[in-house]
Amino acid sequence: MSQKLPFTMRVPMQFGIALVAIMVLCLIASGLSQLGIGSPGIVIFFVICLFGLALLSARMNLPPSPVSSGVVASIEALSAFGLFGIVGAVYAYGHDGLAVLVGLVGGLCLSLIVVAPRFSMIASRSLPDFLCLRLTSEAVRFVMLAIMAVTTVLFLAAQIAAASLIASQGLGMASVVGVLIGVFGVLFLTSPAWQQRTSGATVLAIFATVGGLFATYWLISTKTGIILPQLGYGGLYRDVSAAEMQLGSVQSFADPTAGLGTLGTLALVACLALGAAVMPHSIMRVSTSGSPAKTEQALRVAIVFLVLLATTLPSIAVLGRAEFLKQFASGEGSLFLRDLQSSVRAIVDVCGTGSASAREVCSTNGFESGFSVNALTAKPEGVFFGIASLANAPDWMLGLLSMVGLLVVILASTGASIALASAFNSRLPKTEARRRCWLTSAGVVFVAATLVVATGVDVINLGAWTYSLVAASLFCPVVLSLWWNGMSAKGALAGMIGGFLVTATYIAGSQWGGDFASGTGDEWSWLGVPSMMAGVFGIIVSFILSLVVSAFTEKPATDRMTIFQETDKTRFIANLE
C-alpha cells in the first residue's frame, strides 16, 4: 500500500508506523512490569521483538531510494561509537565531549563537499577499486585493502564491545552473551538471503531512529518539563553548576579548558571529521544510489537525521551528570556509593579501584564519612545505560535503550563488514561475490569478537582509534586523487603507509608504552595528545608525504581525470544558466 502513496507521504508514514509500534511495545513492557516481571525480563522482551522486527522487515518490499540510503547511512555514521561516545564523552569531559558530536556530523558534511558525490561519478564498486583505476596501480589497491581490513576489524570490535555492554548492563548477563548476539545479528544481516532484501536495513534504521528519539524525548521531557531535549541544556547545566559548587568539585562541567582544552577539542574534531568523511562503508552506502545527484541527496538526508539524533544525546549526558551530583549532594549519593550498586559502578570509579568493594575502598582511603566527589572518575562507556537507572526511569526505558543500542550496533557492523567484503571480492562474478562476501564478513566479525573477548578494550577508545587511523591513512590520498591531477600512485602509497604507521605507532605507544603494558608509566605523550586523537600526527605526515612524493614521481595518464573535469564543466555551465 505504501508504494502507491506519493513519496512525500510515504516517508512520514513509515516513521509514524514505527513510532506507533514502539509506543505499543513500551505499553506492553510497562504492563509486563506491572505483572512483576523484572528489568532483565523486560530487556529480553525488547530483544526478542528486535529479532521479530528483523524477520518481518525482510519480508517488506520498500523501493530503494536516496532517502532510505540516507536514513541507514545516518545510523551507520552514528554507530555504537557515536551512541556511547557522545553521551560518555560529554559526561566525562563536560563541554569538550561535544567534539565527538561535531566531528561525526562535520565529517558527513565534508564527505558531501569533497568526497562521495565525486567518487560516485566513476562507477567503482569500492574505494580501493577507484584508487586502482585512477592511479593505475594494483599496489595501491592492495595497501588500501590491508588498511581497510585493520580499520574494519577495529570498528567492528567497537560495535561488539558495545553489544557486550548492553548484555552486562541491560540484560544483567555475562558480556559474552552480548558478543554472541552481536555476531549472530551481523551474520544474519550479511547473509545472501537478507542482502537481496534491500528494504530490511531501512526498516531497522527507521526503528533505531524513532526509538532513540522517543527515549531521549521521554527522558528529558519527564525530568525537565521541556519537550525538546536540545532546549533543556540551560536548566540542566544550571543544576550541574549548583551541585558542583555545593560539593566543592575541582572540575567545572561547563568549562571548556577543564576537559580536553580548546586545541585538544579541535584536534579530536579534526580526527573524527576527516575519518568520517572517507569512512569506506559510509561512502559505499550513499554511493549505491548510482549518481552524484542521488549521492548528494542521500548524504543530505543522512546529515539531517544524524543531527536530529545526535543533538539529543548530549542532553542525556548532562541530565545524568545533574542527577548524579544532585543525588550525591542530597545524601542519597553517599548511600548508593556505599552500596556501590552495579548501575553506579558502571558510571564511576572510586580512586581508580576498579572492582573493589565499598568497604575496601573506604578503609584504604580513609573515607569514613563518605566519598568526596573529587575522588570519582567517570567511566564514559558505561554512562549510556547507567543514566536510565540514575534517572529512575521505568524498566521499559532500559529495554528500549537496549533495543536501540543493538539495532545501531548490528546495522553499523553489517555496513562495515559488507563494505570490506565487497572491496575484497569486487572482481568476482556477482553470484559468486555474494557468497564470498558472507564468508568474508563472517571471518572479520569473528576476528573482531575474539579481539574484544581477549583484550576487553572499551568501545570509545576503539571507535576513536578507528577514525584516527582512517583519517590519517585514507583522507589525503583519496581526496587528492579525486581533485588533483598531480597525484601519483607512489605518492598515494607513501601517504597511506606513512599516515597509518605513525598513527598506529602513537596509539600503541601512548596506550601501552614500550613494555606493552598500560599504566606502567612509560606511555608516550607527544604534546600531551591522548591516544584517541593520535590521528593528528598521521594526517600531517600523510599530507606531506602524498604531496612531496607525488611531486617527484611519475603521474598517471591525465585522461583518468577527464570524467571529473567534464562533469565540473557541465555543472558550471548549468549553474550559469
Binding site: 561535531v102 558534511c109 541544556y233 568549562d255 571548556p256 549518481s291
Partner: protein, 73 residues
C-alpha cells in the same frame, strides 16, 4: 568572468563555511560560557545545537549536481 562569488568556487566557499561553522564556536566557547548575560553556558549551547544546525545549512548550500535521469537539480 570568473569571480570568487561565482558558481565554480561554490565548493570552496562551502569548505570555508564548514570550517567557520565548526572552529569559531569552539574557540569562542570559553568567553561565551563566562558571559553572565545568559543564565546558562551559551558557548556549550552553541557547540551542541547551533554548530550541527550550521552544518546542515552548509550541506544545503553545497551546489547540487544534475540528475542524469530526471534532469533535475
Amino acid at each position: 568572468m570568473r569571480t570568487y562569488l561565482g558558481p565554480d568556487f561554490a565548493r570552496l566557499r562551502a569548505i570555508i563555511g564548514l570550517l567557520i561553522v565548526i572552529i569559531v564556536p569552539i574557540v569562542c566557547a570559553e568567553p561565551l560560557n563566562a558571559w553572565s548575560f545568559f543564565a546558562f553556558p551559551l558557548g556549550s549551547f552553541c557547540v551542541a545545537v547551533l554548530v550541527p544546525l550550521g552544518i546542515i545549512l552548509v550541506a544545503m548550500a553545497v551546489p547540487r549536481s544534475f540528475d542524469e535521469e530526471t534532469f533535475d537539480r
